[in-house]
Symmetry: C2
Subunit: 417 residues, 2 copies
């Protein structure tokens, strides 16, 4: 297929009663949070705000053993594949044993998530995340012990281990993240960033998702998060700003001027009440868009990408806000792969949609990509091929029942069922 | 099934590997607009704003003959059924022949749409819509001649014809609409409203979808649209305010105090850049929510209902904004049926979802409805039963191929393919 098509640009074409598109990247994922789906939507639960939702997420994070993490992650990845995702960026911060002690094999959990992606047939960038404190003045909560690195050296040692163990594996990339300005003090951000830059690794950060995070950063540093990162020289073409919701104009210009990636996760951001990112100004300033399923609150890669445009239409009250369908396709595919260090591997991954699906039937030939981006649902996904391997056939993942049973067994064991 | 379940409240239950929910109502539909899907998303087309989108929609409306209308509507309804919709409110304003002359059988087009719903197996409320002018000072555009009534008497005569012809048909209801304050002068709104009230028919109106509409109403009447309707005594429990986007606090109180229905159409409203309705204040004031697929820009009944909550979370930056899942289910089912005059018929219509679908797998038994409202996609729909008839089996409509071929043939004939 790759020989016959123009693979320089992400594009869409018809083959008989199928529509062929490149595979999509879900750049920002916390796969273990899949287990929270449908369990945090009541006011009476502990999930009444972003911050109390986080407490519930911590309860889950405290309990997981490597086996649990494997089963939950594998099922999350299988579901992603069934909606057309072929590569995932796992923002991985669950590092240590339950009491905070490193595992004997320090990278056990990271490699567990990589194994889950491998069994699901997905490419994965393991974004090894540095996490050092609960906040400027906060004491560590119990679950956070599993996230915390004793030193930058420890974090970087893990990155090196992972790079060595997966060197030359076309399905795996290793990236680096500082969790947030909240969880990583300024000098540590600099060290992590410098390491990533020297080795040309993607560098991800949660940026300005919630207003409280912005306020605390101003309190600590006298600067807003992106202004701080800009002052530190941390922004650049490898920098992936996840969420980028609460920004002022200078920060928008800084991210755009650096040609940074902005990773929006609209289905999760809407779920958590984060607010609206200034998407059009960011793109106009030069930022490159990509998207992620983040908390897996829902899993529809088409909704994830069209929401970038549609939410901005609502915010600005205009009909065309950010980008037309070909640019949205680029965000979902080429930009996404680049943001997780997979470069042009999107050219080897394919999604075949059923052109007779009700969501896609009778599209204009010149506007296939418009129909797909603005109306496709996961039901339209027929076949997914990643690096030459068919992982979804007739809409179902080749290991679906195994993955579903393992997930169910795990939720039962955790007392969620 | 109906005997065994508690049918007093909309609820969800598990049967083996299926999740059973009541059928959903799509309260506000313009089925013929389905043909525009994927064809209005470029800036270069004539659809760069709500108003220029409307011009393109008019181009379509000018061309359709009864046969075209049948095929497009039937396919739109079939697609709705495949995402769990069992009853539709068709806000019907395409009344006359292309030159504006009434058909010899005046209600030909209305009955064509009813026939399309019947063949799709859906319940339909034909909301016969009065339309009298292009605006306060505008001249009629050519397409609008097909919409326009010569008099209120003509409009009401059609309503009576339809009521007579479909009397006693459990699958069909007839309702009444004034298109908008733009298209219907004040005294005509009063006459239509009085007629609907006397006969306890649902009365629908497009209300404050775009700011320009609000401004023009203030220019003409010195009042905003809902304030005007309130002053006229038009609001009440039969009143269905479609969109209700740009409201001030007095108008929110007026709609809430009247216990009016508010029909949100978020997938279309986002597509058109309408802005954000004040959903939480409306519900707190007493308004009853329901939803509609409107332009059929996309067709996912689960997304339609969860967007009501999720968009309001984004606007207010809170985690819980409008209602929990059981109330959202009520909006999609019971409220929707009531808003189109179908009362409790939702108790006879069922959607069976595949509990093993990736979007729903391993939900907490007590929170089935949460999982379904916040994460289901049309892929999860397995079987749809309307008034005892199975219209969707194994995810596919029983007449799917017929409907798809008829749609394709029609688009080809119209020069859209």
């Amino acid at each position: 297929m790759i020989d016959e098509m123009d693979t320089r640009e992400p594009s869409v074409s018809r083959r008989g009663n199928r529509i062929i598109m490149p595979g999509m990247a879900s750049v920002h994922s916390h796969a273990f949070q899949r287990a929270l789906r449908g369990r945090t939507q009541r006011r009476a639960t502990e999930a009444g705000s972003f911050w109390s939702w986080r407490r519930l997420m911590y309860t889950l994070a405290e309990r997981l053993d490597p086996d649990d993490l494997f089963h939950i992650s594998r099922f999350a990845f299988v579901e992603l594949a069934m909606s057309g995702v072929t590569a995932v960026g796992e923002f991985h911060y669950l590092h240590h044993d339950r009491d905070g002690t490193p595992y004997e094999d320090r990278t056990l959990l990271a490699e567990t998530v990589i194994r889950a992606a491998r069994e699901a047939g997905l490419r994965i960038a393991l974004i090894r995340t540095g996490y050092f404190r609960a906040g400027w003045r906060g004491a560590l909560e119990p679950a956070q012990r599993r996230f915390c690195d004793a030193s930058v050296e420890d974090a970087l040692r893990d990155v090196e281990t992972l790079q060595r163990r997966f060197a030359g594996d076309p399905m795996v990339r290793i990236g680096l993240a500082a969790h947030s300005v909240r969880a990583v003090p300024r000098p540590y951000i600099m060290e992590l960033m410098a390491y990533a830059r020297e080795r040309a690794l993607p560098f991800h950060m949660h940026v300005s998702e919630q207003r409280r995070e912005v306020d605390e950063c101003i309190e600590e540093y006298g600067l807003r998060p992106v202004a701080l990162l800009d002052r530190m020289g941390a922004l650049g073409e490898q920098f992936v700003a996840v969420h980028a919701t609460h920004l002022n104009n200078d920060e928008i210009r800084a991210l755009g001027g650096a040609r940074a990636f902005v990773c929006l996760c609209r289905t999760t951001e809407r779920d958590l009440g984060d607010g609206f990112p200034p998407t059009r100004p960011l793109v106009q300033a030069g930022a490159r868009l990509c998207v992620g399923a983040d908390s897996h609150a829902s899993s529809d890669a088409f909704e994830e990408i069209r929401a970038v445009e549609l939410d901005e239409r609502s915010r600005l009250e205009v009909r065309h806000a950010v980008a037309e369908a070909p640019e949205l396709l680029r965000a979902a595919t080429q930009h996404g792969y680049q943001a997780i260090g997979m470069d042009d591997a999107w050219r080897d991954d394919w999604v075949a949609l059923n052109a007779d699906d009700p969501s896609l039937a009778s599209l204009n030939e010149e506007l296939l990509v418009d129909g797909l981006i603005f109306a496709a649902t996961p039901r339209a996904v027929d076949e997914v091929t990643i690096a030459g391997r068919k992982v979804v056939i007739e809409g179902t993942h080749i290991h679906y029942e195994d993955a579903r049973r393992g997930y169910e067994m795990t939720l039962r064991k955790l007392g969620f069922l």
